[in-house]
């Protein structure tokens, strides 16, 4: 028996919130963006956008193929909370509506992912694209 047992806490929303606010600063020219660990928030937001693009959020935390008789405890049910993405998806939709109104979802996601790529590579963005991406991630971080 370990010295402490804790209920699973899904940190998705809070991590997404924090990463969005960090990435928003990258569009303001933060120097940390060239640091290796700066890629972590960028890749996470890229991944979130990809899930949103395909509407694919199934993310089960699971046992192996033969783990037939694992614990039937109800305490760890929350690990597979199927609605973990609800807040994130809603915040993405609202932020898209605010900054990419009337732009098809696919086009808006592609532009945002391209913006993340440019920032990661230290490439300059057209001012309007940079402004919209900055606003989008800032708003997403506030909403999620």
């Amino acid at each position: 028996m370990s010295i402490i047992s804790q209920n699973y806490v899904d940190d998705s929303n809070l991590i997404a919130k924090r990463f969005a606010s960090i990435v928003a600063t990258y569009f303001e020219g933060a120097t940390e963006v060239r640091d290796g660990s700066a890629r972590v928030p960028l890749e996470n937001l890229y991944r979130i956008l990809e899930m949103y693009r395909f509407d694919a959020y199934r993310d089960e935390d699971r046992k192996g193929v033969l783990a037939l008789h694992v614990s039937e405890s109800r305490y760890d049910r929350s690990r597979n909370n199927e609605n973990w993405q609800a807040g994130i998806a809603a915040a993405l939709s609202q932020s898209l509506e605010a900054f990419y109104r009337n732009v098809p979802k696919e086009t808006a996601i592609a532009e945002l992912q391209e913006s993340l790529r440019s920032v990661a590579r230290g490439q300059p963005l057209p001012p309007d694209q940079s402004r919209k991406a900055h606003g989008f991630f800032e708003r997403f971080g506030q909403l999620v």
Partner: protein, 439 residues
């Protein structure tokens, strides 16, 4: 010492652990890429800890959990030792994973997941863990393949990892959408036992339920109304079925044989209602039917030792099938559509899909393994000239299973057949490299 200060100290400890372990070469291809990934995770956690307000307890809690997960990951990778698993099989498995288990990253729309392998536990250790999609402190997601330590050389049983590849594929965002549309929609077809959780529960508690199943459920307080609320996770059940479908279309007959052997060795009646997996009897009946629907059980037309041996193999598989209609849960047409949907996706990512074998090649390989020679694409012709051919490792596994079931066999044990197949996979790789002009 404040919690923040304590955790910053732990960052230093983790950095030292990382330097002592993954900086050096672990595994066949070294561990630098894991060192780099873990360093990035540690870097973001450390900078976040430096920046966090010590009074912001939710954020400090998240970082604490992030550090714990990172430490566990480093220790798992460190435990990974090439001497503890069948690396020829792993190399083939990695080729499949690299072709289809990809993720879109900033630099690459189809970046293969980084794979590491470890061996632990007993029979039920088989697993492929893919890190979760949801936000985390991971830059790139890692894939962990786990083998049972006791079955190091049992490559025939390793075919069961076809199911696990299924989970890893389903964990890839763009494939998930395709699989939901082309496979899951058929598995959960209207009017079927998997249309909804209520439909599955109704099937389980129908008048034809075996008495032993009903007695087991009743003794646990499970009812039709609460089964998928309190005891089992219906969405896990359909994901497991979907992964069985992928296992079948990726590994073929060897997958069916491995599932029959391993699942029934762990649930001997096949009728246990577990939390995350559908009943073993349902799964095995489905797989056998799927093999027939896909024509995997076709036999050569001419009378030959191969035909006889293949027939014996499928007769053996049939011994695991329960002749109870309650155990047959999907409509043939819908099930075939699901199989075709999975095959269509895997065929786009060679070598993920199981290729149909040639009976001529199978005959030669069966003859070889019967003489205790590893079954590979190599022969010396009547002129004394050597000939090499490409052979898919899954055909080696199929031949191995056939030989292991041969009625009037050479007396080779299952263990020896496995070792012959493991050697064959390794030798075939060398042959294939030579044929590609790599040597």
């Amino acid at each position: 010492m404040t919690t923040k200060a304590f955790l910053l100290g732990e960052c230093d400890n983790i950095g030292a652990l990382l330097d002592r372990t993954l900086r050096f070469d672990y595994g066949l291809e070294g561990s630098f890429e894991f060192y780099e990934e873990c360093s990035a995770r540690l870097g973001i956690l450390q900078s976040e800890l430096n920046a966090v307000d010590p009074a912001n307890l939710p954020q400090v809690g998240i970082l604490s959990r992030g550090l714990a997960e990172l430490t566990q990951l480093i220790c798992r990778i460190e435990r990974s030792s090439i001497g503890e698993y069948s690396w020829p099989f792993v190399e083939e498995l990695k080729r499949i994973a690299a072709s289809i288990c990809t993720e879109a990253t900033i630099d690459d729309p189809d970046a293969p997941l980084k794979v590491y392998v470890l061996a632990e536990g007993a029979l039920d250790a088989y697993c492929i863990y893919h890190e979760r999609l949801r936000p985390s402190y991971a830059k790139r997601r890692l894939l962990t393949i786990v083998f049972p330590k006791t079955l190091k050389h049992f490559v025939l049983l390793h075919s069961i990892l076809g199911h696990e590849i299924g989970h890893a594929i389903f964990g890839c965002t763009k494939h998930q959408a395709t699989l939901v549309k082309d496979v899951l929609s058929h598995l959960t077809h209207v009017g079927g036992a998997f249309e909804t959780a209520a439909a599955t529960a109704a099937h389980i508690f129908s008048n034809t339920v075996p008495p032993s199943v009903l007695a087991d459920l009743s003794s646990r307080g499970a009812t039709e109304a609460n089964l998928f609320v309190e005891f089992s996770d219906w969405s896990s059940w359909w994901e497991e079925l979907l992964c069985d479908v992928i296992g079948l279309v990726s590994f073929g007959p060897a997958f069916v044989a491995a599932e029959c052997s391993l699942l029934y060795s762990l649930d001997v009646t096949g009728l246990g209602v577990g939390p995350y997996h559908p009943l073993v009897a349902w799964r095995i009946n489905l797989l056998r039917r799927g093999a027939k629907l896909l024509g995997l059980d076709l036999l050569p037309e001419n009378d030959s030792p191969l035909k006889e041996a293949m027939q014996e193999f499928w007769n053996y598989i049939d011994t695991f099938v329960k002749n109870d209609p309650w155990c047959d849960v999907l409509d043939d047409a819908e099930f075939l559509a699901a199989l075709n949907g999975a095959e269509k996706l895997l065929s786009l990512h060679k070598p993920a899909a199981y290729p149909p074998p040639s009976f001529e090649a199978m005959e030669k390989m069966l003859s070889a393994i019967h003489r205790l020679v590893p079954p590979v694409g190599f022969a010396v012709d009547s002129q004394g000239e050597p000939h090499c051919d490409n052979v898919d490792f899954r055909h080696i596994l199929y031949v191995g299973w056939i030989e292991s079931r041969r009625q009037n066999g050479s007396g080779t044990t299952f263990s020896i057949v496995n070792k012959l197949c493991e050697h064959a996979i390794m030798q075939q790789r060398a042959i294939s490299i030579a044929l590609e002009g790599g040597m």
